[in-house]
């Protein structure tokens, strides 16, 4: 692949403007999770903890089926 300096400056400028590399990315606004979403996440969090404990228990006891 040829280095940047071997590209035509006009081509470089066109690409930058065409693809928007000079524009800052739109800001990502912080949003609050709804009560339902928080409950869902905490539920999944509890599920992960329980299942991780099960896997560790199975590992420790050599339960492989």
């Amino acid at each position: 692949m040829k280095p940047l300096r071997e590209f035509d400056p006009e081509v470089i400028r066109r690409l930058i403007e065409e693809e928007g590399w000079h524009e800052p990315l739109p800001e990502v606004r912080l949003v609050q999770l709804t009560a339902g979403q928080r409950m869902l996440f905490w539920g999944l969090r509890a599920y992960v903890l329980v299942m991780a404990a099960v896997v560790v228990w199975a590992f420790v006891h050599g339960t492989g089926g």
Partner: protein
């Protein structure tokens, strides 16, 4: 990415507007693609363009066939032969495509990585949760990769004191000292060797009639039934080796670092599809190979790499065993490369530091160092003598399945966020399929949990 802007070197482009710091390499990669798109329309040029657009999708899916996955597929074939798991690989491939395609869209449209979006959109509290999930799972998975490298190397007569440190050194070198494009090309070159298992399977002269019958529902013998602990463990492990949280973070950040845009989504999907096809082919090849050479071995579901290699040597000879060992090392190697990159990107995005593989180490030590430390920790752990390696592999695959629903929930929420995605939000059908996948994962894990804690409850 550092938000400071500065003018591109005026010798390169006097008229260019100011750009974010460190964009030159990505710009060069985009100019290369642009030149290929505008160039000649002959088959050679189109092939070159196609190959240039390949990257994140192939890497994530072939990296998915990691050392742990190779052993999981071998255990599966050894336990259930040419049965239900063969056609199931196609289903899992479809599941992987559905899930991973969302990361392509998310990365190309937002130009931000997965960790960054979670952190900025939902806050540091949930950001930390997802980051810790990822890093813990990644370090555990990396252990299984280095186990594969170690055991594969030992089968070839190579000392683990050579193979493990050398692998760690290479992973460090390609990530830290090469730019994205070169890192991607080298990784793709390594990933292609994942396909070595296909000729191995052909060499084993499988019963093709039985292979065909498996795809039409015949020969699906499941000792102990579908609710047996063995079946539930292996199905969880197979799912866990097909879709895992690191893949979401990896592919999205890789899409961003490659500089893909909405106009490249179709190419990104094609790249992913090629990767999925490769992944499914290799998975099937391993199941077919194991069904032919390992079926009937005692405790087949607990086979470790050493037992697999010994059985292959006995059935197919030293040469084929050596090829398998090389394939096992390659699987561990490519997975280590991509998983380390996923950790680096996620940590860099979480702390909003310079986070591109294009960044030189002197400027982005905070990006490279934590990921390399995690990988080094995994490499060190597997050198500890007497480590119980056998069940560790399956446990890690199952843990990946456990973490997946939470990771997918964030993914779904982001893909339905019209403020972020605009016209590229998920369709209702895509949402329905994704939710069904999540529900399936939770059900599978739940059944595994019940069967583990209360062995006779499910009658298996």
């Amino acid at each position: 990415m550092n938000a400071e802007v500065r003018a591109l070197d005026t010798r390169l482009c006097p008229e260019c507007p100011p750009l974010p710091e460190g964009i030159e390499h990505r710009l060069r990669d985009r100019l290369h693609l642009d030149a290929l798109r505008r160039g000649a329309r002959d088959w050679r040029s189109r092939l070159t363009l196609g190959l240039a657009l390949i990257g994140p999708g192939v890497l994530v899916m072939l990296g998915d066939n990691d050392a742990g996955g190779v052993i999981t597929y071998a255990q599966t074939g050894a336990t259930y032969g040419l049965g239900i798991f063969l056609p199931m690989m196609i289903l899992l491939g479809i599941v992987a495509y559905v899930v991973q395609e969302m990361t392509v869209r998310l990365g190309a449209v937002t130009r931000r990585g997965h960790a960054e979006l979670i952190w900025k959109r939902y806050g540091a509290f949930w950001g930390w949760f997802s980051l810790i999930d990822l890093v813990v799972a990644n370090v555990l998975t990396l252990m299984t990769e280095f186990i594969g490298i170690r055991l594969g190397g030992q089968a070839l007569g190579l000392s683990p004191w050579l193979t493990v440190p050398a692998s760690l050194a290479f992973i460090t070198y390609v990530l830290v000292f090469l730019r994205y494009w070169t890192w991607e090309r080298i990784s793709l070159f390594i990933a292609v060797f994942n396909l070595i298992f296909v000729p191995l399977a052909l060499y084993s002269h499988p019963d093709w009639h039985a292979v065909t019958r498996a795809f039409v529902g015949q020969g699906w013998i499941v000792p102990g039934g579908f609710l047996s602990l063995t079946f539930l463990i292996l199905i969880s492990a197979n799912i866990g080796t097909t879709i895992a949280p690191w893949q979401l973070f990896f592919q999205q950040s890789c899409v961003v670092d490659k500089g893909l845009l909405p106009r490249d989504i179709r190419a990104g999907r094609r790249d992913l599809l090629i990767g999925v096809i490769g992944m499914v082919l290799v998975a099937m090849a391993l199941i077919v190979l194991a069904a032919k050479t390992l079926k009937g071995m005692p405790d087949a579901q607990d086979l470790n790499a050493g037992a697999v290699l010994a059985a292959l040597r006995a059935k197919l000879g030293d040469g084929m065993m050596a090829l398998f060992a090389l394939g096992l090392m390659e699987a561990g190697f490519i997975a280590s490369i991509v998983i380390t990159a996923s950790s680096a990107w996620a940590i860099g995005e979480a702390f909003d530091i310079d986070r591109s593989i294009n960044a030189p180490p002197r400027r982005a030590l905070g990006f490279y160092l934590p990921a390399m430390l995690g990988t080094a920790l995994a490499a060190i752990v597997v050198m500890i003598p007497g480590l119980p390696l056998g069940f560790l592999n399956l446990s890690v695959q199952v843990i990946a399945t456990v973490f997946m629903p939470a990771a997918m929930l964030f993914l779904l929420m982001l893909l339905n966020d019209r403020e972020l995605m605009g016209e590229h939000v998920n369709s209702p059908r895509r949402n329905a399929v994704s939710i069904a996948i999540m529900a399936g994962l939770i059900l599978c894990n739940g059944l595994y949990g019940i069967a583990t804690l209360f062995p006779h409850t499910l009658g298996g």
